[in-house]
């Protein structure tokens, strides 16, 4: 068979192919990524899109947890103050129930209990970032207002709505307790008990009953406060989980789309050697043909 007398197109094609490989390798080294455009590895590119979506989501969950934590910590510490105030009121009530106190003493006690009433009112109307925390979902208006015509001395203007926030895949957390459940549940109504104590101190009768009622209210709030403690614990756990998820996602991103630098650099070196060899071959093939030997 006749030999192809013109090796140049093949040699040049080989040079172009090698050059192309070198370019790809250099791009990988520069970006640290093996998937720079979807066609580099379509399946990996699709996985990376999902990975990026999940990473963005996890980062957002962390931010949202931060916001929710702030609100719930505030609510929790407000409830701590509420229980302290109620204990104080109970102490005052026990003092007032003692048969040795006279009406002047009771009037002084009344004033103190009224002070506690307004303190509790202010705690129940706690705001966080412009929202009334214990108002259910009616967060834009103060849930408790003084109302002398009401038997408990206050009226509840909030609602019984609760919010849950999604803070992870398959993880959603209730973030509030409405005042109607926390403070004003029938039977353990904190403001009613307090008003009863004030009435008792004023009249001198029923103080003991009022103290018992206050005790019930205190227990109820203490019990319900566990909700916030638990939630804050869950938030901590979720934070830890999310940061490990983020790490895993980052690892996956590297595994799927990261450049294997050792391999790439070794490829690059061998491509460069092959390019050099091809170019040398071209240089040498060039010169000789029979015409050179004819005299």
């Amino acid at each position: 068979m006749r030999v192809n007398p013109d090796p140049y197109p093949d040699l040049l094609a080989a040079v172009a192919t090698t050059q192309q490989r070198i370019n790809t390798d250099e791009e990988e080294i520069a970006s640290g990524q093996s998937v720079n455009v979807p066609s580099d590895n379509p399946a990996a590119a699709a996985v990376l899109v999902q990975d990026a979506g999940q990473t963005s989501q996890a980062d957002q969950f962390q931010r949202s947890i931060g916001s929710v934590q702030g609100e719930m910590q505030n609510a929790d510490s407000a409830l701590d103050s509420v229980t302290t105030a109620l204990q104080q009121a109970i102490t005052l009530g026990v003092e007032g129930a003692n048969g040795t106190v006279n009406s002047a003493d009771r009037a002084a006690l009344t004033t103190q209990v009224q002070g506690i009433q307004s303190q509790l009112l202010s705690l129940a109307n706690l705001t966080y970032q412009g929202n009334y925390v214990f108002a259910g979902t009616a967060t834009q208006t103060a849930p408790y207002v003084l109302d002398p015509s009401s038997p408990s001395g206050v009226t509840y203007a909030g609602n019984s709505g609760v919010n849950s926030v999604t803070l992870g895949n398959e993880f959603s957390l209730q973030t509030n307790l409405p005042g109607s459940q926390l403070f004003s549940a029938s039977g353990t109504d904190m403001f009613q008990s307090l008003q009863n104590l004030i009435n008792g101190l004023e009249s001198g009768t029923g103080i003991g009953t009022a103290v018992t009622e206050l005790g019930n209210s205190l227990n109820s709030i203490d019990t319900q406060r566990v909700f916030y403690g638990n939630a804050l614990n869950q938030l901590n756990t979720q934070q830890t989980y999310l940061s490990s998820e983020t790490t895993q996602l980052a690892q996956q991103q590297t595994t799927v789309g990261g450049a294997d630098l050792t391999a790439v650099i070794s490829n690059l070196t061998s491509s460069q050697a092959s390019l050099q060899a091809t170019l040398e071959a071209i240089g040498q093939t060039a010169q000789i043909d029979l015409f050179d030997y004819l005299k």
Binding site: A45, T166, D289
Partner: protein
């Protein structure tokens, strides 16, 4: 009876023939780097003998013709492969541009979908907060812009491919005119028995170029060629070429016409075929997927909006302007319907502090709202499809380039000029020429002897 004169004429024929053969070699050497040139081979034949009973005498040599060496089957394989090569390289380069839109960046559609849902999740932690509501509106606006930009880029790319269709048709017409003209020149030479090798080479070169542009069928007829597209639309018949025309379609793109017939969808190969495939199939398919995603998102978000209450306790209204019916153009026209952040219907009970509906909207993120897939998964499917199309077209292109290279090697091994061979031929012809010249010298001496004989006798 033989004569010295007869011998002289035989020797002379040798001189002439070898000189002619050397000319072929010279021409080969001169064209060693001419693209598409097929080496020429002198065809030497012994001249008809003279019969003088009982003897037969040769009368020398004739240079019958100079033949161009080529393999027609190889040529037609090269044409086929060139068509494929033209098609896949046009397709691959078009799609490579397309995939730029689907490469992860700070503002690609996938990222903006994430940002949009992230902003809703943030709003859910404090649904009455106006700045968080504004954050959702901004993210929705960015999402719409990203859809718009991507869709517009695709449309722009389609227009530039359309321009390339028109240009390619122009090139095709030029080449077919050139081939028709060459057909004429070849016919004229062949009619008078001349070697038309150079023109045949030029025509072959033009047909190869034409093959890279469009799917050509070559039908050889007496002394000439007829060219059609693979589907039979005429391009060249003998000395006549048939121009292809372009005409604007209702979609604003150019269709290709032959003899008043729309042949756009029949062109499947060559650069024109690849360009049309990208313009009429690949890009519209991506546009449809993008429209499906945009329309699905807009409709599902709007539906959730309608089920909730805004900051003032009113029933929610559309967040996105409703996508067009039939979804075509949904991505290009996606836009946010509201500018007042309080109109986001985050509340499920009418209270400002309720986040129930924001949660419902966030849940769309993981619900099969786009053809049975969640938005991010659907988008990753688009990325996969685009990447896969590019990868396939590039692979086909590389494969056909390799085959084409091998075929060209084969053609070169048949038709290419080898300087070694030409040098050897040159020596061969030169030697033969010298030998013939030596014969003439010898006959001359013999003539001299004969002429002087009379002087001796006289």
């Amino acid at each position: 009876m033989s004569s010295l004169n007869a011998s002289l004429s035989s020797a002379l024929s040798g001189l002439i023939a070898e000189q002619g053969a050397l000319e072929a070699t010279t021409n080969n050497v001169a064209n060693v780097n001419t693209p598409g040139y097929s080496r020429e081979q002198p065809v030497l034949v012994a001249s008809d003998p003279v019969v003088l009973d009982p003897l037969t005498f040769g009368t020398g040599v004739t240079l019958q013709s100079v033949e161009s060496i080529r393999d027609p089957i190889l040529e037609s394989q090269i044409q086929q492969q060139t068509q494929g090569q033209g098609q896949f390289s046009a397709l691959a380069s078009a799609l490579q541009q397309t995939q730029g839109n689907f490469t992860t960046s700070s503002s690609d559609v996938g990222t903006e979908i994430s940002n949009f849902f992230d902003s809703i999740n943030q709003l859910s932690t404090n649904p009455s907060d106006v700045s968080l509501r504004q954050g959702v509106l901004t993210a929705a606006g960015n999402l719409a812009t990203s859809f718009n930009t991507t869709a517009n880029n695709l449309t722009q790319q389609q227009s530039s491919l359309d321009l390339s269709v028109v240009q390619t048709v122009g090139q095709i017409n030029q080449l077919t005119a050139q081939i028709a003209q060459l057909n004429g020149q070849i016919g004229n030479l062949q009619n008078v028995g001349e070697n038309a090798g150079t023109f045949v080479d030029q025509r072959q070169q033009a047909i190869d170029q034409l093959s890279s542009l469009v799917d050509v069928s070559v039908i050889p007829t007496d002394n000439t060629l007829t060219l059609t597209t693979a589907n039979g639309a005429p391009l060249v018949a003998g000395q006549q070429s048939f121009q292809l025309q372009t005409q604007t379609s209702p979609l604003g793109l150019h269709d290709v016409y032959s003899q008043r017939n729309d042949i756009t969808s029949q062109i499947t190969s060559g650069q024109l075929g690849g360009t049309l495939q990208a313009r009429d199939q690949e890009i519209p398919a991506i546009q449809t997927q993008l429209d499906t995603l945009a329309a699905g998102l807009a409709n599902s978000v709007n539906a959730v909006q309608a089920g909730g209450f805004d900051l003032k306790g009113n029933a929610g209204t559309n967040l996105f302007n409703p996508p067009p019916v039939g979804i075509t153009g949904a991505a290009a026209s996606l836009s946010v319907a509201i500018t007042d952040p309080s109109l986001i219907a985050a509340s499920s009970d009418g209270s400002a502090g309720s986040n129930g509906n924001a949660e419902a909207m966030y849940a769309l993120n993981s619900q099969p709202v786009i053809n049975g897939q969640n938005p991010t998964d659907y988008y990753s499917g688009i990325v996969f499809n685009v990447g896969n199309d590019v990868a396939n077209a590039s692979a086909e292109q590389s494969a056909s380039a390799l085959i084409l290279q091998q075929l060209n090697d084969q053609r070169s091994s048949v038709s290419g000029v080898s300087l070694d061979e030409e040098a050897a031929n040159m020596v061969k012809y030169q030697d033969a020429y010298a030998a013939s010249a030596q014969v003439i010298t010898t006959i001359n001496d013999m003539m001299y002897t004969v002429v002087n004989m009379s002087t001796l006798t006289g």
